[in-house]
Amino acid sequence: MGFQAVKFYQTGTFTVGNRLLAPDERSLQSVETRSNSINSGHRACQGCGEALGARYAIDAAMAESNNQLIAANATGCLEVFSTPYPESSWQVPWIHSLFGNAAAVATGIAAAMKVKGRPEVRVVAQGGDGGTTDIGFGCLSGMFERNDDVLYICYDNEGYMNTGVQRSSATPPAARTATTMPVGPEPGNVFGQGKNVPEIAMAHGIPYVATATVADLRDLEYKVRKAMKMHGARYIHIFVPCPLGWGTASHDTIRMARMAKESGTFPVFEAEYGEVTGVLKIRHKIPVEEYMKPQRRFAHLFGKNAHPETVARIQAIADRNIRKYGLLEDEGN
C-alpha cells in the first residue's frame, strides 16, 4: 500500500504514533497541533465512528491544503450532531444545505473559487451513505461526470442512522434495520440489492477513488492526502461503524471496522482513472461470523433460530471480495 511501513519498531505502522519515530514519520493524528476539525462538545453518540472518521479525514485534508479548505455537508448525523444552531463543532469553513445536494453545493463552491481567482482554496463535500448512495446520488454522479474539482467523502455506516436506523442502499444483506425487520423466511435486509458506489465512481473514470476504514489510520491519511494533491473529481468511501445502529459496544467501533476489513467484508483499495492500483491486504483473516456476532443487527442469524445458510451467503460475498481484489498476501493482485 502507499503508506510506508515502519521498520524495526514494534509499533508505528499500526499505532497512531510512536515516541521513537521522527516527527515526519508520525501520523497527523498523533500531533498536538492537528487541526481537530470537529471540536469537543459535539453530540455524536459514545464511540461514534463517523465523528472519528470525519476528524481523521478533514484534519488530513486541512493539512494537505494548508488550511485553505471549505467543506459542504449533507444532512445526516454528521451535520446534526456537529451543528445544532447556534453552535458548531466545526473548525473549518463549513456549509450545510440539504440531504441530497452536497456534491452540487461543493461544485458551486469550487466554481466560485475559480472565478474569484483563489486556486489555493480546496473543496470537500461529505455525507453519510444515505446522502451519498441514495438521495444524493444524482448530484454526485454529475459531479463525477463533469470532473469537478471536489473531493467527495462518504462516511458509510450502512444505514440512515440520524433518522432512526432505516435501510439504505449501503445496508448489508440480512441486517436488521427499522425498515428491514428480522421476520419471515429471509429475515433482515434482502440479498441482491444495494449499490457499490466506489465501483460506480470508478466506472466514471475519475482521477481517484479509494475506500478506507477508521481502523487503518495511516492508510486513511495517506489516501486523503493523496486525493488532495490531485485535481478533478475524487471520491473516498470511509467505513465508519455506528454503535447505535449496529447494536455494538461503544468501545468496539474500531474493532468492528478492523474485522470488516480482516474478514473481506469491506475491501480496502484505491483506484486511479477506473483501475485498481492498490489494496490493503488482510493481515489475519477471520470468518465473517466473527465480525457479525458482536452486532445486534445480525443477532437473528445466531443463537436459537440460527440461519447458518445466511451466514454462509455473507461469507461467500466476503470470499468473492477477497478473490476479486486479491486481499490475501499470497493471492497477489
Partner: protein
C-alpha cells in the same frame, strides 16, 4: 485553535459550551499494570522498565534502571534460567522477547564502557556482616551499601562468587565477567575479607560489633548415596570436581567418567569433563523429560558428544567398571528395577545428587528452625534469631543465582528497616497485565533474534564461552519487540482514537491525561490501547 481558517468571519457559538462529559457512566483511567515478566523475575527486576530505555537506544539509562534491583546483569545474561521469558506475553504472539540476551548486552556494555554505580546514600553508621560472597551475599551487600550501611563480607574461599565461580563452568560464565561485576560492588566501599570462614556467627558478630548479619553460605556438601563398591573404585562428588576445575591442579578422573545424576550440575560436570578430553557418560534413573536439568542444557551436552544413559541406576562400582541396572517407569512415573544389568567402563564415578548446607556456623544460635537441612526464614528473610537474616541456597528455595540475588535484595530492605526499628512494607503489587489486556493488532510481526553459538569443535575442546551475545543492532531490535505490557509507551493511540478529542497529550515522557469535561466514556481508548494501560471504572453517582 492554532490555525484560524481563512473564511471565518462570524463568531458562531462553539460546541465547547456543551460539556458532553456529563453523559459518562464509566470513566477511563490511566494505570500501570504489572508486566508478567516483572512478576516472574525472582530478582524483582523492572524488566519492562529497562527495556523501555533500551528501546530508545539509551542503554546506560536502561542499565541504571536494571541495577536498581540486580547488580549482576552480565552474569544474569549468561546463567539466569530466565523465567521472565516463560511468562512474557509476546510468547503468545510469536516468541518471547529475548530479555536475557538484552540483559547480557547491557551488562557487557557496562563493563566495556566502565559504568559505575551511583554513590551510596549518606552513611547510616550501622554495620552489617554478610557471610558468603555468593550471589546472595553480594546482592545483599550491594543493596545495603546503597542504603548507606557499612558492609563487610566474610568469605571462606580464596575468591568471591560462590557457586558462580566454583560451580558454574567457565564456558557458561567467563571469569572476567564475574570479576568485573564483583569489583564494581566492592568499589562502592564494601569490604570483602577472603579466606575468612565464619566458624560461629554469634561470636563473629559480637567480636566486630555488627548490628545485623545476612547469612548466605550456600549449599556445598555433596549428597552421597550408598553404592556397593570395591576398594579401588574412584568415587568423588560433583562440587569438588567443579571446584578443582578453577584451581591449578585439574581433577584426575581418567578417560571414562561416569556422572551420576540428572540435574544441571551433572550436565555441567559432564560437559566440563568432555572439554578436558575425557569421555563422560551421564547415568540417570529416570527419563529425559523427568530430569531436573533444563532441556536446553541437555540438548547442548548431547550436541557436544556427552552420552546419557536414561533409566539407569548404578548397582556396583569397581576399579575400571560399574554395573548399571535398567529401570522402567511404573504407572505413577517412578522408576522401578527391571533386573537387567549392564557393565560400563569407568575410571571414576562423579556423584551429582545435590548438595546439603553446612550449618556448623550456626551452632549455639537460639531460636533457629532447621527443616530438611535448610534454615527457615520468615517472609522478611529473618531467621528465628532477631537480627540474623539468611537467603540463597541455605534457605528453602529453587536454588538459582537469580533467586539468591532476589533474596539478597529482599533481605537488605528488611535489614534496613530492622536497623531503623521499622518494618519494611513492600508497595502493593499492581494488577497483572495478562495477555487478555493486550491488543495484539498493533504489534508488527517480528521473530526473536537468536544468539550465535560457538562452533562445535571449540565447544568440545575448550572452555571458551559457548553462547555469544547480541550486537547493538539486534539488541535494539530485540528490545523493541517488547509489548510494554501494562505500561504506557506513548504510542499516541488513545490520543488518536478518541472521537471526542478528550485525550490531552502532555508531551514526550509525560504521557497523557483525560479531559473529563468532554470524555463520554465510550471506552475506545481502553480497547485500542495496545498495552493495557487504560482501565474503565464505573463513574461514581
Amino acid at each position: 485553535m492554532p490555525n484560524k481558517p481563512f473564511a471565518i468571519t462570524l463568531k458562531p457559538g462553539t460546541s465547547l459550551a456543551n460539556l458532553t462529559g456529563t453523559w459518562r457512566t464509566t470513566r477511563p483511567v490511566y494505570l500501570d499494570r504489572l508486566p508478567p515478566c516483572n512478576n516472574a523475575c525472582p530478582a524483582g527486576e523492572n524488566i519492562q522498565g529497562w527495556l523501555f530505555h533500551a528501546e530508545s537506544g539509551d542503554y546506560e539509562q536502561a542499565w541504571r534502571v536494571l541495577v536498581q534491583d540486580n547488580p549482576l546483569p552480565a552474569v544474569m545474561g549468561r546463567v539466569c534460567y530466565h523465567p521472565c521469558e516463560g511468562a512474557c506475553n509476546r510468547g503468545q504472539l510469536d516468541s518471547p522477547v529475548g530479555i536475557n540476551s538484552v540483559e547480557r548486552f547491557l551488562g557487557d556494555e557496562a563493563i566495556k564502557l566502565g559504568w559505575k554505580f551511583n554513590a551510596p546514600a549518606t552513611a547510616s553508621g550501622k554495620k552489617v556482616l554478610v557471610v558468603g560472597a555468593g550471589p546472595s551475599g553480594l546482592s545483599a551487600a550491594y543493596h545495603l551499601a546503597r542504603m548507606g550501611h557499612q558492609v563487610e563480607i566474610h568469605e571462606a574461599g580464596p575468591l568471591a562468587g560462590g557457586m558462580m565461580r566454583f560451580g558454574i563452568p567457565k564456558y557458561r560464565l567467563p571469569r572476567e565477567v564475574l570479576d568485573a561485576e564483583v569489583q564494581r560492588i566492592l568499589d562502592m566501599g564494601v569490604t570483602l575479607k577472603l579466606n575468612t570462614k565464619v566458624e560461629n556467627i554469634a561470636l563473629s558478630m559480637k567480636q566486630h560489633g555488627f548490628d545485623a548479619a545476612f547469612l548466605a553460605v550456600g549449599a556445598h556438601i555433596g549428597k552421597r548415596t550408598f553404592i556397593p563398591s570395591g576398594d579401588a573404585a574412584h568415587i568423588i562428588d560433583a562440587v569438588s570436581v567443579l571446584r578443582s576445575m578453577e584451581g591449578e591442579d585439574k581433577p584426575m578422573l581418567g578417560r571414562k567418567v561416569i556422572v551420576y545424576g540428572g540435574g544441571n550440575t551433572a550436565i555441567d560436570v559432564a560437559r566440563s569433563v568432555k572439554r578436558m578430553g575425557a569421555e563422560p557418560i551421564v547415568v540417570y534413573r529416570r527419563t529425559r523429560d523427568k530430569a531436573p536439568a533444563h532441556d536446553f542444557e541437555i540438548e547442548e551436552a548431547l550436541q557436544e558428544g556427552v552420552m546419557i544413559k536414561w533409566l539407569s541406576t548404578i548397582k556396583q562400582a569397581d576399579a575400571g567398571a560399574i554395573t548399571v541396572e535398567k529401570m522402567a517407569l511404573d504407572d505413577k512415573g517412578y522408576p522401578q528395577p527391571t533386573g537387567e544389568f549392564e557393565t560400563l567402563e569407568a575410571d571414576s564415578v562423579v556423584l551429582a545428587l545435590g548438595q546439603d548446607v553446612d550449618l556448623s556456623l550456626l551452632e549455639g544460635v537460639s531460636g533457629l528452625e532447621i527443616v530438611d537441612g535448610t534454615v527457615q526464614v520468615s517472609p522478611n528473610m529473618m531467621t528465628g534469631h532477631p537480627g540474623i537474616f539468611a537467603g540463597g541456597d541455605m534457605v528453602p528455595s529453587e536454588r538459582t543465582v537469580t533467586v539468591a540475588v532476589g533474596h539478597g535484595k529482599k533481605a537488605a530492605l528488611n535489614i534496613n528497616a530492622w536497623l531503623n526499628d521499622a518494618t519494611y512494607e513492600p508497595a502493593p503489587k499492581h494488577e497483572l497485565a495478562g495477555f487478555d489486556k493486550i491488543n495484539p493488532w498493533y504489534y508488527s510481526d517480528a521473530d526473536k533474534t537468536v544468539r550465535p553459538m560457538l562452533d562445535i569443535i571449540r565447544r568440545q575442546t575448550s572452555f571458551d564461552e559457548v553462547q555469544g551475545g547480541l550486537d547493538e543492532t539486534n539488541a535494539l531490535f530485540e528490545a523493541r519487540r517488547c509489548l510494554s505490557c501494562g505500561n504506557c509507551f506513548e504510542c499516541d493511540n488513545c490520543y488518536g482514537v478518541c472521537p471526542d478529542n478528550a485525550v490531552i497529550k502532555l508531551g514526550p515522557g509525560k504521557r497523557f491525561k483525560f479531559n473529563y469535561d468532554y470524555c463520554k466514556g465510550c471506552g475506545m481508548c481502553a480497547t485500542e490501547c495496545p498495552c493495557g494501560a487504560i482501565k474503565m471504572v464505573p463513574e461514581e453517582t
